[in-house]
């Protein structure tokens, strides 16, 4: 699991196995055999659902963790993809539903979502830093109200129902086990892509922009372009998550993308930790478990208090979320030096000299 600690550094040495990391292999094996040991409910309602929210939170983690931009509009981007699937694919609400085949529909929806994400990035990057959270929250709410009021395109408050995942190769991809593997495949793909990109030249530049935009600008980098491109990439993942979410629910309505959903994405990312792409998935599992079983433990009435307190505890005690707790535990054992990459602290103002990093 030491992979988790040092992942943000480029590692081009070592054998293939070492580069993948034993911990990751164990994780992959567990995830692959999971459907064999779990009940249908746990496969889809916990497993697949966590993977989907993990992807949404991962799309935020790219921006916040690597770019220092906390966007609250990721759920809106997922919503763009979801609505695209509903409008251009099939639904049985009787509004639109052009019935495009999935192999055009899905890339189209994801691309559209990414373009919208880029646009949001362009808007929010007109100002900097902490303002991002305000502007994107306002954008997300604006989009929510628009979908709620617009009947011509979004079918208003009712939204769309009866959206089905495609069936091909003789497989119904919404059946529990195939759907789980579909989500797992998409999640692993996104995860690997993020891991790869974070070690690429582009990823390193983005992290440098996060740490000191002024210096990077002086060095001749186009800071705005880097940030907008980050939004675009995050939009690809959020869009893919949105497509899966709409297949999971079989429906989409403004309630799917409201303010509490926007906050949910942030809560998951923060609880999981934003230093490594595995964090959002950890956070998603924890939050989904709490969400599902709170009613049996504390009663659903106070579910929000519970999740809010967990969130506060994490923000106070471990700015790097569960991932940070894990690493603290690891640090007690003598190990190689671990560097404090700390995107949550890498706010806007005083980040320059707080820590030195030898990337």
């Amino acid at each position: 699991m030491s992979e988790l600690l040092t992942a943000a550094r480029p590692r081009l040495d070592g054998t293939f196995l070492e580069r993948i990391g034993l911990g990751n292999i164990a994780l992959v094996i567990f995830l692959v055999i999971y459907p064999a040991v779990a009940s249908e409910f746990f496969i889809v309602q916990i497993g697949a659902y966590s993977l989907i929210w993990g992807m949404l939170a991962l799309s935020l983690m790219i921006l916040a963790g690597y770019g220092g931009m906390v966007s609250m509009a990721q759920i809106s981007i997922a919503g763009v993809a979801g609505y695209t699937v509903a409008i251009f694919g099939m639904n049985h609400t009787g509004v639109h539903g052009f019935g495009w085949p999935f192999w055009i529909l899905v890339p189209f929806a994801v691309l559209l979502a990414a373009l919208v994400a880029g646009l949001i990035g362009l808007i929010s990057n007109r100002t900097e830093g902490i303002y991002t959270i305000m502007i994107t929250l306002a954008v997300a709410t604006g989009f929510f109200y628009f979908t709620q009021q617009n009947y011509a395109l979004f079918n208003g408050h009712s939204g769309f129902a009866g959206i089905e995942a495609p069936k091909f190769w003789g497989i119904n991809w919404r059946a529990p086990v195939p759907f789980y593997y579909l989500c797992l495949g998409c999640a692993v793909l996104s995860y690997a892509a993020v891991l790869y990109a974070s070690r690429s030249a582009y990823g390193l530049t983005l992290q440098a922009v996060r740490d000191n935009a002024r210096r990077m600008r002086a060095l001749g980098y186009d800071v705005t372009r880097h940030k907008v491109v980050a939004y675009f990439y995050s939009g690809l993942i959020a869009g893919l998550g949105g497509v899966l979410l709409v297949w999971f629910n079989g429906r989409i309505s403004p309630g799917t993308i409201d303010v509490s959903a926007a906050i949910n994405v942030l809560v998951i990312a923060v609880i999981g930790g934003m230093r490594h792409p595995i964090g959002p998935f950890l956070g998603a599992v924890v939050v989904v478990l709490i969400q599902t079983f709170a009613i049996d433990v504390v009663g659903a009435e106070r579910y929000n208090t519970l999740i809010g307190l967990v969130f506060l505890l994490i923000v106070f005690a471990s700015p790097d979320g569960i991932l940070g707790l894990w690493e603290k535990a690891k640090l007690r054992a003598p190990r190689e030096q671990v560097f404090q990459l700390d995107p949550l602290r890498a706010g806007v103002m005083s980040i320059t000299n707080r820590r030195k990093r030898n990337i």
Binding site: V44, Q149, G162, A300
Partner: protein, 412 residues
């Protein structure tokens, strides 16, 4: 290392198939309502209604003990389906009562189609298309829909009150569309006109401008707003010196609005409305129901229409289970056959189902009156007996009227 293994074992235990313990001597019934979010109060009252029915059976049905498992939504369709999935797929219920609100109902109907072995009974959701168009064969609604609730109101205000021109103010989503539809279907047929319809976004707080834009030559204003929105509108209407009398939607003048804290406004007195219950229903069955309901912890002075709907549906479920002796081993086919034919007396009169499994029941025309102690109350004016979903119009003709919406129906 040992602790890790223990942990892994515990986790594996959690992942196993739903618990089968004591499946022999208990009958699991899921109740889905809003126990979180702004509708918590309504969901809890729905639960009280359901428990009133359970208590009426002394917690036993067909020789088995009733085990109620709660599922919670926040009134969004997504959360309702998630909660239903947990109840069905994790907790293993074969009979589910719920949900509370209209869009949730549409979503649960869709979900019901994917679980043909489970029997779904409505909670209090009242959207028309839950049963009217494209119904699910295993979704039963022993409560009535939002258009049925308006039965008798259009004729009453046109003939008895003499209102010829009425403006409407309603929230901009499916449930108020259905209510306006139900009202206008009768009112327009009687010869009335609706020159202006104001659709306001849900959660609008400031209605003064909307009020000012209502045409001055209308005889009355039909208001279909719920909860806080209704309270705001009514206060501001009074402050603006509104003169035109009001006509209320079913949830505009229910107990949640009449008991709202603060100034209780006289503007509501005399407002006619219609719905599935009437606070002052003199029938002994209703009085007995109110008394039984009040034994539930935290009960309101009068059961809300949510408590009533959950009660009726839960009672239907229990009666059905009793008839088949709790036998749902055949995927509930016998239970559903029994439910389809079920006719029973509720606190609000006889209930039976049509071919789409939607209730045919009595609807109550009421007027708001002020009691000597200052509280407001819905007084029973008239009962419209046995209203069906198509409001007495033949089914194919009714379907031709089209889906409810901002523009449909129209009689300016």
């Amino acid at each position: 290392m040992r602790s890790k293994i223990n942990y892994a074992l515990a986790l594996a235990g959690m992942l196993m198939a739903p618990a089968m313990a004591s499946a022999q001597d208990t009958m699991k019934i899921g109740v889905l309502a809003t126990f979180e979010g702004a509708f918590t109060v309504l969901g809890e009252d729905g639960m009280r209604g359901a428990m009133t029915a359970v208590d009426e059976f002394h917690g036993m049905v067909g020789g088995k003990k009733i085990e109620i498992i709660k599922g919670s939504s926040d009134a969004s369709p997504d959360s309702a389906v998630r909660a239903a999935r947990k109840l069905v797929e994790q907790d293993g219920v074969k009979v589910l009562v719920g949900p509370l609100s209209g869009d949730e109902g549409l979503a649960i109907k869709d979900y019901a189609k994917t679980k043909p072995d489970v029997t779904f009974l409505n909670g209090s959701s009242a959207a028309q298309d839950t049963t009217l168009r494209d119904p699910a064969p295993n979704f039963f609604r022993f409560s009535t829909d939002g258009a049925q609730w308006m039965a008798g109101l259009g004729n009453y205000v046109y003939k008895e009150k003499g209102y010829k021109r009425v403006a409407t103010v309603a929230e901009d989503y499916s449930f108020p569309y259905t209510q306006v539809f139900g009202f206008m279907a009768e009112f327009c047929k009687a010869g009335g006109h609706v020159p202006a319809k104001a659709w306001v976004p849900i959660g609008t707080k400031d209605y003064s401008s909307v009020i000012a834009a209502i045409p001055e030559d209308v005889d009355a204003i039909y208001v279909a707003l719920g909860g806080a929105d209704a309270v705001n509108f009514l206060t501001q209407y009074e402050q603006a010196g509104g003169k035109a009398p009001l006509i209320g939607g079913s949830i505009t003048v229910d107990q949640t609005v009449l008991t709202s804290k603060g100034k209780i406004h006289d503007v509501l007195i005399g407002t006619p409305s219609a719905g599935p219950t009437a606070d002052s229903n003199p029938s002994p069955e209703w009085k007995a129901f109110v008394a039984a309901y009040k034994k539930q912890p935290g009960a309101f002075p009068v059961p809300s229409l949510f408590a009533h709907a959950y009660y009726v549906n839960m009672k239907a479920a229990l009666l059905g289970l009793q008839q088949v002796g709790d036998d749902v081993s055949d995927g509930g086919a016998k239970l559903r056959a029994a439910l389809s034919k079920l006719v029973f007396e509720t606190p609000t009169g006889k209930v039976s189902l049509d071919e789409n499994r939607n209730a045919i029941a009595d609807i109550f025309l009421t007027e708001v009156v002020k009691l000597p102690d200052g509280t407001l109350f819905n007084k029973l004016i008239k009962v419209t007996p046995q209203v069906n979903q198509t409001l007495g119009i033949p089914r194919d003709e009714f379907l031709k009227l089209g889906k409810v919406g901002r523009e449909n129906p129209s009689c300016p």
